[in-house]
Symmetry: C2
Subunit: 251 residues, 2 copies
């Protein structure tokens, strides 16, 4: 009876993992909708004020012969349009929710309204444990798949030393994981963002370690046409982050 109950256990675990993944994605979208609803109006207002401020500044200084006093404490720089870009559309809100739940927290933007901050705390209190559970369930499935592979190989090649096969499978999954979650994403991000290879790897590392400085964030360039569909690219980033964290948890 042992193999059957084992198979049943596997099925049950697959079922639980699928359920967790589903719950995670529903929770992610739910969060994005709320963040979008809470933050978007304030953002629109602030953007309007920014343009108003800019217009007034231009008007005021157009007829002034002396724009700046020589007081060194008020330096002046020219801003690009990027500083007034829209952050809290549904796509931005989804990216924010993902960064929050994985605790990466890039922080290149974050809620400014009190309601947004309060929701952020409540949402993360439930969501971070849910995400951790999902990630560790995926990690366990990945570990099991590697064990399953080792067993199959041992069955097909009974003359090979079982321990050696198992160890090779563990070494193999580390190498495959490093290629799939570090080398390939670095290459994809490098092409998509036009960063150097070093900067791309730095971004990959800082993201998967959940540090997330926000100095490099994928899918955020507006001065450049992406060579791939941006929505597809962002979904790839989200999946890569989740499974990559699971891989790190598995090692």
């Amino acid at each position: 009876m042992a193999p059957i109950s084992q198979a049943l256990l596997h099925k049950l675990k697959n079922f639980v993992t699928t359920g967790l993944l589903l719950a995670f994605f529903v929770y992610l979208v739910f969060g994005a909708i709320i963040f979008h609803a809470l933050e978007s109006p304030t953002e629109e207002k602030m953007r309007a004020e920014f343009w108003e401020f800019k217009r007034n500044l231009s008007k005021k200084w157009q007829n002034s012969s002396q724009c700046f006093n020589s007081d060194e404490s008020t330096p002046v720089v020219v801003l690009t349009q990027e500083d007034s870009r829209k952050r809290w559309g549904m796509d931005g809100a989804l990216g924010f929710s993902g960064a929050l739940l994985t605790t990466i927290g890039y922080g290149h933007f974050s809620p400014v309204t009190n309601a947004g901050k309060a929701f952020c705390v409540a949402y993360a209190t439930l969501g971070i444990p849910l995400t951790a559970l999902t990630v560790s369930a995926i990690a366990e499935r990945m570990r099991n798949f590697s064990r399953f592979l080792a067993k199959k190989i041992s069955e097909k090649r009974p003359q090979w030393n079982r321990k050696t096969v198992e160890r090779s499978c563990i070494a193999g999954r580390v190498v495959v994981g490093l290629v799939v979650f570090f080398v390939i994403p670095t290459w994809i991000v490098q092409v998509a963002e036009d960063w150097t290879y070093g900067d791309s790897f730095y971004f990959v590392f800082i993201s998967l370690s959940t540090v997330g400085f926000g100095d490099f964030v994928a899918g955020e360039r507006i001065d450049r046409e992406y060579p791939v569909n941006v929505v597809f690219y962002r979904v790839f980033i989200l999946l890569w982050t989740g499974f990559g964290m699971a891989f790190l948890g598995m090692v």
Copy 2:
């Protein structure tokens, strides 16, 4: 013999925890020294360039009757001195190393040199597991202390139900932990930073969850005299973060 070996095990664990804590602090200071050495010269250069840029801008526009064309794509704002503040002194480098090792990664500043980024990756690869080990060792000591307390109480009050005492101790450590690591730090940060209570709690939560957006960072205000010694305050922030994360790991 059981009690003696138990006591020995406890001593050994205390020894290991102390060793880990020591190793963590040495590693933290080591990282800060390297980051300071790698990033500080570039920062000095960039600051000098910034002031030069500002001076040229003032000179150029002092004698110009029309400072801005009406092209709306080049808005202008006045920068405060904060934007050119020094980040990579030893104190800033220490704060950066702490945020990196705990994976909080506030990201209000991060390395810009290639050497700094490369060291960041290598340093975190070793340091994040070391920090995780240290934090979980502290968590275990905290859990053990709570168990020890439950045992002492049970010995002194044998008439009380043992299970009830144990459960009360668990509930007690959650309440004490919430007060020590959430309520009191929120109050201290609120007084020290002059933020609202809501913003202070939001900062405490976003830090302990290791999300770290960087929209609020303690000990970083330069427009305000701190009512406490800043070095002392920053050490408090570091200790609070570490032990607070251990508390969350314990729950």
